[in-house]
Structures are given as structure tokens and as C-alpha cells.
């Protein structure tokens, strides 16, 4: 996994004036409205916003599973038409194939594209050791712990050496301890490859710890509220999160913006915007079959 310098790293994604509607007729609701942002190549950009504000819909647009209602999304200048191995998504709930062992899951990509050769087999072996799952090669996903499933999914994406790694709150649901260990683990993985990464979360500590560039989103319909450059030195260690004043200063800035947004969506009681978006986006996913 050689280290790429920033200048010619691929994977710059530009969104301009992107809008996305769900539902039809009077239940039509804009989830993303006129959102423009750039995910810089070679950087770990983290997007944070209240739950259900439309972040996952943005990911589905970038990954190419859905088309924006208006506006354009390009990767290195080329418009995005459909899913491709240049933009791989690690979902919130594990999308490991339950009927495949860890080994089969990880080498799914090369086999699917019939690019299996000694080089890809070595890479697979290297990655399985790297994610610490060598003794779990023959195990099925439901025999792995949450943390192990996440690492397996990371390896499955990395073997295809995508231009951009997209992660949708991958560590949500893990217990706090495993989650913090995964932060450090994922940060080191990025520091080795300096590959473009687009990480979405609702956890402020996670965002501050991981991010080179922090994109704070508003409540639904979501758009960019603020962008903060985080220049905490790398490689980053968990202890830096508590000691470094800069980390804490950024954290309180985010808190001010996001707490207000979270309260707005929360105060709406059971029919809060968050629930509607959550249900609507679930429906949107289900009816593309």
C-alpha cells in the first residue's frame, strides 16, 4: 500500500446545486436542497449532521445508487452515472454476504470482475492479516463480532483499491470501547494510503478525531452549514482527543451549531422531520428493486 502524494491523487468529488426529492404529490419532500460541496482528493473529509438530515441520501447519490433530482455530481471531472469500483460504500449495517466466509467476502471484488491473479491473491492475504482476521478466514459473518465484521468490510472495500472510500456511520452500534479502538485503527489505515475518504457520522468526537476537513450539515433539507479545517497533527492517537486544546475548541464550535439543529428535529415530538426522513429514505431504498 504505497503512500500517494496529494497532488495527483484521484477521487475529487464535486457536488454543485444538488437537490433530491422523495415521495410524490403532496407528500413530496426535499431531503437535499441546492447542496454544493467538494470532497478534496487525498483528504479524510468527515460530514456531520443531525440524524435523519439526509446524509445517507447524499451517500446514495455519490455512490450512484440514485440519481439527483437536479444538480450534478462529478468525480475527477467525470459525471457519476452509476455504482462503480472507484467509489465503494461501507454501509451502516453490515453488507457482508452472510453466506460467504470472511475470505470469500474479502475477495468478492476481484472474482466479480474476473481479475483474480497472484497479485490480487497476495493483496487479499495481506489485507486479511492487516485487519487481524487471519484465524477467522473460514468463519461466516454471523460468527464474527461487530468490530470484526467492520474490519472485514473495510478489507473487502480496500482490495478493490477504490479512488474514494465512502463510509456511512460504519462504527454506529459498536460498543464505545471497540468504537474508539476502531477510530485509531481506521485513522492509521488512512494515514498509510492517504486515499480520498468520505466519512459520515453523527458522533462529534469521532468527527474531530478522524477529520482533515469537517463538513457540518444543517437539518433537513440538508445543506452545508460550515466547513472547518482540522489540522491536528497525524498520526493521531486517542489521547490527543482529550489533551489537544484545538480538538476541544473545534468540538465546542460544532456543539453550538449541531445541538441547536438536533433540538429542532427532536422537539417536533413523534412526527419530527427526522422520523419522516428516516421512513422516506427507507422506502426509497426498498422500491428501487
Amino acid at each position: 500500500m504505497e503512500q500517494r502524494n496529494n497532488k495527483n491523487t484521484p477521487g475529487e468529488i464535486v457536488l454543485s446545486g444538488v437537490t433530491k426529492y422523495y415521495g410524490i404529490g403532496e407528500s413530496k419532500k426535499a431531503v437535499i436542497e441546492d447542496c454544493s460541496l467538494t470532497i478534496e482528493a487525498g483528504k479524510l473529509s468527515v460530514m456531520i449532521g443531525p440524524s435523519g438530515c439526509g446524509k445517507s441520501s447524499l451517500i446514495r447519490l455519490i455512490a450512484g445508487f440514485e440519481k439527483p433530482s437536479s444538480g450534478t455530481i462529478t468525480i475527477d471531472g467525470k459525471p457519476i452515472r452509476g455504482p462503480g469500483k472507484d467509489r465503494l460504500v461501507v454501509f451502516q449495517e453490515s453488507a457482508l454476504f452472510p453466506w460467504m466466509t470472511t475470505e470469500e467476502n474479502i475477495s468478492f471484488g476481484p472474482i466479480a470482475r474476473s481479475e483474480v491473479n497472484t497479485e490480487s491473491q497476495n493483496l487479499a492475504k495481506f489485507l486479511i492479516d492487516k485487519v487481524g482476521l487471519s484465524q477467522f478466514k473460514k468463519k461466516f459473518p454471523n460468527q464474527l463480532s461487530g468490530g470484526m465484521q467492520r474490519r472485514c468490510e473495510l478489507a473487502r472495500a480496500l482490495i478493490n483499491s477504490p479512488e474514494v472510500m465512502i463510509l456511512d456511520e460504519p462504527f454506529r452500534g459498536l460498543d464505545e470501547m471497540t468504537k474508539e479502538l476502531m477510530w485509531e485503527y481506521y485513522a492509521n489505515l488512512y494515514e498509510e494510503t492517504r486515499q480520498t475518504n468520505f466519512f459520515v457520522t453523527t458522533d462529534i468526537d469521532e468527527a474531530v478525531f478522524l477529520a482533515d476537513r469537517l463538513i457540518i450539515m444543517t437539518n433537513t433539507p440538508t445543506k452545508v452549514a460550515q466547513i472547518i479545517e482540522v489540522d491536528i497533527p497525524r498520526p493521531r492517537k486517542l489521547s490527543t482527543l482529550f489533551e489537544s486544546d484545538q480538538a476541544n475548541e473545534i468540538k465546542s464550535r460544532i456543539l453550538k451549531i449541531l445541538h441547536v439543529e438536533a433540538m429542532k428535529s427532536f422537539k417536533g415530538g413523534s412526527k419530527a422531520a427526522a422520523d419522516f426522513i428516516e421512513a422516506a429514505s427507507k422506502r426509497a431504498v426498498s422500491n428501487t428493486v
Binding site: P50, S51, L144, S145, G146, G147, M148, E169, R172, G173, L174, D175, E176, M177, T178, E180, L181, T201, T202, D203, I204, D205, E206, L238, F242, E243, N248, K251, S252, L255, L258, H259, A262, M263, F266, K267, G269, S270, K271, A272, A274, D275, E278
Partner: protein, 278 residues
């Protein structure tokens, strides 16, 4: 609606031992654990997942028996020598990790279930109390919806109100906010402290999120990996009411630093042991 000031809900756990015996392979879950919780206190139990915290909670609630030591509440023996398993009762109510609102009852019926079962109050008095507590917790308007239609944040609040409807001495919370995303968690924490200020009930709160423990708790018990016993007990001397900005204050960060390496040691041990979640 304030019940008597902190006289109820004092718990003393003395030297409790719990051994599971699945298919004969005896596994010790709790190893001589002793812990004193004063009445009206918020005691946070922090430890890696699968270390036996929930077993302790189940023993207090009376779902499981214990093999040694004793647990008392307000001086009466809950379980101990001669009575290995406590009898569940509405003085100690559990709020479960993935929720246990009855999906077939709407919100108001869920809230009224406890008092109706005990049959002490007439129906309309219970209903009035339920409506009052719902308004108090910002839940009015959800009376007739079913749990399946509510967001997880709202469901959590309904479940806590359902517990408080029975004026329990102790609220036993088992990682109630684990499924929530961090931002909604912060809002839920403030809502819980708000309800706590009004009801002054003792809270026994299990979590593996250190920041949540320090933000909510008056007392913090850091547990070892399985078999669990308190590794360190410290009091959190941040005054109430606490708002979320306290997280960035100096005192809070010192406490975080002081406790986080303890907690991480335990986490590394269970992580290395390939401990599966929960």
C-alpha cells in the same frame, strides 16, 4: 409531583457472586462485587461489553439468582443467603437495552399498564397521571400512536415515563441509549436529567460510554472484564443541573483523562480475547 425526598432506593450490594452453568462449564460472571448506592443517587456502571454488568442488574431486578453475597434495598433483603432470587416488583423497574414497550398497546395504554395491574388507583386517576407525565416529558400528541410508529428517541422517553408511572424506588437502565446516534444521545441525556430532577429516583445505569457515564452520574463504578467487580469507584463532583457544554469544561476533561486509561485497559483485554459483542 415530587415524591418524598431521597429516603427510598438505597442499595447495598455485598460480596455478590454469580456463576452461570451452561452445559456444565461453570462461568463466573460476577466475582465478589460490593457496591453502596445512596438513595436518590445516579450510579453509573461502566465496563467492557459482556463483562457481567447486566447480570448484576438482573439480580437486583429479580430476573436471575445469585450464588453468593447479598443485595439489600432500604434495609430489606432483596436476595442473599436463603433467598437466591429477588421477586420482581414495581419498586425496581428495568428499562431494557432494545426496549420493551408493548408493541400491541398504544402509548397511553403502555403508560397505564403498571398502575392498572397493581389496581391501587381508579382508571381515570391513572389516565390523568399518565397524561400529566406525558406533557411533562414533552410527549403529548403521541397518546394513540403504537410503539412501531415512534422514533427510537421518543420510544426511550415513553419507556422511562412508563417506569416512573409506578413511583419506583430504583430505575434500572441497561444501556438504554446504545442504539441512538450520538447527537440524539446528548439530547436524551438532558431529558433524563430533567426527569430525574423532578422525580428524585435512584438510578442504576449500565453503559460502556465513558462520556455518558461522567455526564450523567453522581457516582461512577468502573468494572473489570468478566468476571466483573468494581475496579475503581469515584464520585463525579460536577454540580447539577448540567448542560451539554460541560463536556468541554476543564474539570470534565480531567475526569475523562483520569478514568479513560482504566477503561481502555479493560477494553483491550476483552477486545484481545475476541469477546463477541454483548
Amino acid at each position: 409531583m415530587t415524591n418524598s425526598p431521597q429516603t427510598r432506593g438505597q442499595i447495598s450490594i455485598k460480596d455478590v457472586v454469580k456463576i452461570y452453568d451452561p452445559e456444565g462449564a461453570a462461568v463466573m460472571a460476577v466475582d465478589h462485587c460490593s457496591l453502596e448506592i445512596a438513595a436518590g443517587e445516579i450510579c453509573m456502571i461502566v465496563g467492557p461489553s459482556g463483562c457481567g454488568k447486566t447480570t448484576l442488574l438482573n439480580a437486583i431486578a429479580g430476573f436471575h439468582s445469585i450464588n453468593g453475597g447479598s443485595i439489600e434495598m432500604d434495609g430489606q433483603l432483596l436476595c442473599g443467603p436463603g433467598k437466591p432470587q429477588a421477586t420482581p416488583g414495581s419498586d425496581r423497574i428495568v428499562v431494557f437495552q432494545n426496549g420493551a414497550l408493548f408493541p400491541w398497546k398504544n402509548v397511553i395504554d403502555n403508560l397505564m399498564f403498571g398502575p392498572l395491574m397493581s389496581g391501587k388507583l381508579p382508571f381515570n386517576e391513572i389516565k390523568e397521571k399518565a397524561l400529566y407525565m406525558m406533557a411533562d416529558a414533552g410527549l403529548s400528541g403521541t397518546e394513540n400512536s403504537f410503539p412501531g410508529e415512534l422514533s427510537s428517541g421518543v420510544k426511550r422517553r415513553v419507556e422511562i415515563v412508563r417506569a416512573l408511572m409506578n413511583d419506583p424506588s430504583v430505575l434500572l437502565l441497561d444501556e438504554p441509549y446504545r442504539a441512538l446516534d450520538s447527537l440524539s444521545k446528548s439530547v436524551m441525556h438532558e431529558a433524563l436529567l430533567d426527569i430525574y430532577a423532578k422525580n428524585k429516583v435512584t438510578i442504576f445505569f449500565i453503559t460502556h460510554d465513558l462520556q455518558e457515564a461522567l455526564f450523567l452520574g453522581t457516582k461512577l463504578a468502573i468494572m473489570t472484564t468478566r468476571p466483573c467487580k468494581p475496579k475503581k469507584i469515584l464520585t463525579v463532583d460536577i454540580p447539577y443541573p448540567r448542560s451539554y457544554s460541560v463536556v468541554t469544561e476543564k474539570r470534565f476533561r480531567d475526569l475523562m483523562e483520569e478514568t479513560s486509561h482504566l477503561v481502555h485497559e479493560e477494553a483491550k483485554k476483552s477486545f484481545a480475547a475476541g469477546e463477541k459483542e454483548g
